[in-house]
C-alpha cells in the first residue's frame, strides 16, 4: 500500500475500515421495543436503529440498518456495541461525550465512569478534522437518542 493516504489513517483507522466493511450488529432485530431513523438529506446517508430493552429498562440488544459511508456504518456499529448492556442514562451520557469527541477531538468524560466505552469510540475522534464528515459519525447516535425518546425520526443537528 502506497503512502499516498498516510495522513488519512487518523480518519480511516483499521478498526473503522473493518467495522465499515463488516458491521457486527448491522441487522434488524427480530423483536424490538424501540426504533428510529436518522437521515442526512445532504448526502443521502440513512440509518435505522433498533433497541430491545431488558426488564430493568436497560438496553439489552441493539441492531441497525445503515446505508452510507465507511464512517457512518462503523460509527453505528461501534455505537451498537458500546450501548448494549448499558442503562439508557449511560447511553445518553455516551452520546454527549461522543458528540464532543467527534466535533472537537476532546474527551473530558474519558477519565470518568464511562472511560472504557469511550475508549472503544476513540478511533472516530479523527473526524473532528473533517467538518463535512462529523455528521456521518453522529447520525447513528441521533437515531439512537430518538429511539430512546420514543420518536420515529432523529431531528437533525
Amino acid at each position: 500500500m502506497s503512502d499516498t493516504f498516510d495522513d488519512l489513517r487518523d480518519l480511516y483507522q483499521e478498526v473503522i475500515l473493518d467495522h465499515g466493511r463488516n458491521p457486527r450488529r448491522g441487522r434488524r432485530l427480530a423483536a424490538f421495543d424501540a426504533t428510529a431513523k436518522g437521515d442526512n438529506p445532504m448526502c443521502g446517508d440513512r440509518v435505522q436503529v433498533f433497541l430491545k430493552y431488558g426488564p430493568d429498562g436497560a438496553i439489552a440488544d441493539t441492531g441497525f440498518e445503515a446505508r452510507g459511508c465507511a464512517i457512518s456504518v462503523a460509527s453505528a456499529d461501534l455505537m451498537a456495541e458500546t450501548v448494549t448492556g448499558r442503562s439508557q442514562q449511560d447511553a445518553r451520557a455516551l452520546f454527549a461525550a461522543f458528540r464532543e469527541l467527534a466535533r472537537t477531538g476532546r474527551c473530558p468524560a474519558c477519565d470518568g465512569a464511562l472511560a472504557e466505552a469511550l475508549e472503544r469510540l476513540q478511533p472516530l475522534a479523527g473526524v473532528h478534522e473533517y467538518p463535512s464528515r462529523v455528521k456521518c459519525a453522529t447520525l447513528p447516535w441521533h437515531a439512537l437518542i430518538a429511539a430512546l425518546d420514543g420518536a420515529q425520526e432523529a431531528s437533525s443537528e
Binding site: 502506497s2 499516498t4 493516504f5 480518519l11 480511516y12 448526502c43 443521502g44 446517508d45 459511508c69 465507511a70
Partner: protein, 412 residues
C-alpha cells in the same frame, strides 16, 4: 474558410486567467474537477465586478443622477450580451433571475397558471431536483398531472416512452434538461421540440450545464423557455437567466410583486411594467449582472467551438482512463455527452472516495447530485462526479485516475 478547425484552446493561458487555480491544497496543486457544481471565475469577471463597485455603482432604472444612469447602462448591457449569446430575437426576452432554479420556478408559477387542470407537464427521468420539485408544487397547487419519461440503461431519453407520453395531447409543457448534470447526456432537444410542438405543448429547456459547453441558439432550437445560471458559466453567483418567447412572457402573470415590476400602483389595483421588467421585482443583482457580461465575453473570446473540442477530448480521455479501473462503474453511456463523468467504486462509498481524493487536492462532487430519482434508477444512492471546464487539463484527469487506483487499494 469555414472548413478550418478552430485553433485549440490554449489551456495554460486560460489557467493563468483564473487566480484561484494557483492555490495549493495541503501542499498539493488544486485539481478542481467540480465545475459542474460551480465554476471558477476568471480575472476579467472579478475585475469587472470590482471596477463597478469602485467606479460606477448606484441602483438601476430609477435614479436620475449620473451614477444611476451609468450603472443602468452597464446592467442593461448585460442583457444585450445574454441576448446575443443565445441569439434571442430581442433583448426583452431575457429575464434576469437568481439562478436556474428561480427561472424554472418562475415558469412553473406564471406559465403554470395558464395551464388548465387536467393538462400535464412532462419531464424526464434525469432531471435535477430544480426541474422536478417546482412541477410537483404546481401539480399539488393547480391540479395538473406530472409525467416522467424514463431514461434507458445507457442514460439516454427513452424516445418511444417520451413520444408515448405526448400521445394523448394532454401535455401542455415539456420541461427537460439540455444536458444531464449526472450522466453528461445531451438530450435530443431539436427532436423534443418538434415532437412537443406537434401536439401543441411548449418546451422549457434546463440549460444549466449545456450552455457552459455548447453554443445555444434559441431560435435554431425553437424552444419556448431556456433557463440557465451565471455561476456555472464562469460568472458570479446570484444571477441567472430565463429566456422566453416574448408573447409567452406577455401572456404570463407576474411571479414576484414589488418595485421595478409595476407600471402604476393604486390601492385598488396595479398594472405591470413591460417585459422583461414585469418579472424583475426589486433591486436586481446589479454587480452580478455586470460580472455575467464579463464572463460571457470571456467565453465568447475563447469560442464555443474550441471549448467544445477541448471538453470532448477531456471527456474521451477520462472515460478511457476511468473505465480501465477495476471495480469502477461509470454511469451512463450516452452517444452524445458532455464533460461530466459520474462513477461508483466497488467497496468504497462515494463520500469516502471524495475525502481521499480531497487529501490529494482533488475536488470532486459526491452524493446524489440533486437527482435522487435518477440515482435510484441506476440502483445507487450516491456517486462521485468529476466535471470538466475550460481550465481542466489532461494531466489532471491522469492524477484523478492514478489516485482512484490507490483509493481502491485503500478500501480493498
Amino acid at each position: 474558410m469555414d472548413s478550418l478547425p478552430p485553433p485549440p484552446l490554449d489551456v495554460a493561458r486560460v489557467r493563468a486567467d483564473f487566480p484561484i487555480l494557483a492555490q495549493k491544497i495541503r501542499g498539493k496543486p488544486l485539481v478542481f474537477l467540480d465545475s459542474a457544481a460551480s465554476a471558477q471565475k476568471p480575472r476579467a469577471v472579478i475585475e469587472a465586478m470590482r471596477a463597478a463597485m469602485e467606479t460606477q455603482y448606484a441602483n438601476v432604472h430609477r435614479g436620475l443622477h449620473w451614477m444611476s444612469e451609468r450603472t443602468t447602462d452597464a446592467y442593461e448591457a448585460a442583457r444585450d450580451a445574454v441576448a446575443a449569446l443565445m441569439n434571442a430575437r430581442e433583448r426583452n426576452e431575457v429575464v434576469f433571475v437568481r439562478n436556474s432554479t428561480e427561472a424554472i420556478n418562475l415558469v412553473a408559477y406564471s406559465y403554470g397558471a395558464l395551464l388548465r387542470p387536467g393538462q400535464a407537464v412532462l419531464i424526464s427521468g434525469m432531471e435535477h431536483h430544480s426541474n422536478l420539485v417546482p412541477w410537483q408544487l404546481l401539480r399539488d397547487r393547480h391540479g395538473i398531472e406530472l409525467r416522467v419519461a424514463p431514461v434507458t440503461d445507457a442514460g439516454e431519453l427513452n424516445w418511444p416512452a417520451f413520444e408515448n407520453a405526448l400521445a394523448d395531447g394532454k401535455v401542455g409543457l415539456v420541461a427537460i434538461t439540455h444536458m444531464s448534470n449526472v450522466l453528461g447526456t445531451y438530450t435530443p432537444v431539436e427532436r423534443i421540440v418538434r415532437a412537443a410542438h406537434a401536439v401543441g405543448a411548449k418546451v422549457l429547456l434546463d440549460g444549466s450545464q449545456a450552455i457552459v459547453h455548447r453554443k445555444v441558439d434559441v431560435q435554431a432550437l425553437d424552444c419556448d423557455f431556456y433557463a440557465w445560471t451565471g455561476h456555472k458559466l464562469y460568472g458570479p453567483t446570484g444571477i441567472g437567466v430565463l429566456w422566453a418567447r416574448r408573447e409567452l412572457l406577455e401572456a404570463m402573470p407576474p411571479f414576484l410583486g414589488g418595485g421595478e415590476m409595476i407600471s402604476s400602483v393604486t390601492y385598488a389595483r396595479s398594472t405591470w411594467a413591460a417585459v422583461p421588467h414585469k418579472f424583475e421585482a426589486g433591486t436586481p443583482a446589479i454587480i452580478e449582472g455586470i460580472g455575467l457580461k464579463a464572463a460571457i465575453e470571456y467565453v465568447q473570446a475563447l469560442g464555443y467551438e474550441a471549448i467544445a473540442a477541448h471538453e470532448r477530448a477531456l471527456t474521451e480521455h477520462a472515460l478511457a482512463r476511468l473505465s480501465d479501473i477495476e471495480g469502477l462503474r461509470i454511469l451512463g453511456a450516452a452517444q452524445d455527452r458532455g464533460g461530466v463523468v459520474s462513477f461508483a467504486l466497488a467497496g468504497a462509498h462515494a463520500h469516502d472516495v471524495a475525502t481521499l481524493l480531497d487529501r490529494q487536492g482533488i475536488a470532486v462532487r459526491a452524493g446524489h447530485h440533486c437527482a435522487e430519482p435518477l440515482m435510484h434508477r441506476f440502483g445507487l444512492e450516491s456517486t462521485a462526479r468529476a466535471s470538466f471546464g475550460i481550465y481542466t487539463t489532461r494531466e489532471e484527469i491522469d492524477v484523478l485516475a492514478d489516485t482512484l487506483v490507490r483509493v481502491r487499494e485503500f478500501f480493498a
